[in-house]
Subunit: 190 residues, 2 copies
């Protein structure tokens, strides 16, 4: 998928955006940070847009393990529980990624970027909603709240917690706090 150098470039790019926003991602800064010249970057990526696209691809690859939790066999509640845990575990390991994964604004300048981000967002939302819907039919999850809104509460609260975490300078333990959130989410699902 990515060569070692390409992965380094993508990860450095994510770091630059995480630190000072998309306007901080310039070819010059990227080359400087890595310690090679600007033209050398173009041996690994056609242009800046391709780097941006690769960041999204990197998102997808990195978050795949947590998505897979939702695709396993088993009880809906357990799948959602494992999804949340995996999610926070990964983002705790890749904190720069946590800072920009929900910053859709960074990918608004190009239509193809915007579209593929929307696709990723819709995929996870649809998957979660499908699981909840089915579990509601099986009487595993409370039907008082619609599947759509329950999905919004779960994903929304997860996202919001991650944003609070990254904006506050990662001062709290996201995995511990995520565990507590997960417990409370289970309560409203029953």
């Amino acid at each position: 998928m990515f060569t070692k150098r390409q992965q380094q470039i993508v990860e450095t790019a994510i770091g630059l955006i995480a630190h000072k926003g998309i306007q901080n991602l310039t070819i010059k800064n990227l080359a400087l940070q890595i310690g090679i010249s600007e033209p050398a970057l173009y041996r690994h990526f056609k242009n800046k847009l391709e780097i941006m696209k690769s960041i999204l691809k990197y998102f997808q690859l990195t978050m795949q393990p947590s998505m897979l939790e939702l695709k396993k066999e088993g009880k809906a509640i357990d799948k959602i529980n494992d999804f949340i845990f995996k999610h926070y575990e990964i983002l705790n390991q890749k904190q720069n990624l946590a800072k920009i994964i929900f910053a859709e604004a960074n990918f608004q300048n190009d239509e193809t970027l915007k579209d593929s981000l929307l696709l990723m967002m819709n995929n996870s939302q649809r998957l979660m909603q499908g699981i909840i819907q089915q579990a509601q039919e099986n009487d595993e999850i409370n039907t008082a709240v619609t599947a759509k809104n329950l999905t919004r509460m779960i994903i929304g609260s997860m996202r919001f917690m991650i944003i609070q975490w990254s904006m506050s300078g990662m001062i709290f333990d996201i995995e511990a706090e995520g565990k507590l959130l997960c417990e409370d989410l289970k309560k409203i699902m029953r």
Copy 2:
């Protein structure tokens, strides 16, 4: 607070960011859109950073009516209900603002911007959490879920819905959908 021209500049700037991200907000684009020359802009704002700061001020002023709903006297559930309704009503009227109000990434390039955005975010969160906490003590709201996490679910689901709305091209009726979300949020609070 703002002169007419300043307000026009701020609103146009919000429109530019909403349309193609922060990288689309340039002095040239701004002047072009308004129909004046670039140097004319500098008669109204010292520099670009002051325009960015004014966008945040404009946020605050615009969302004040919905914040005030939380400061009224009355039942917690009613206050939260009115807060949600007002929120969606305002953002439905100012759709460009809806597109960027939760796009924290746009204000990451400057420390002072980042700080004042964090302050605004924390304020609304603290206010909401305080109301819920008190209502839990009065047995008005269910204590099964902690006030902190209930706040995350409410604000998180609201934010997520607005992001879905703006990214999907505003294809659904946010006020109607917000009403349904509000009903479901009330259910989990009881």
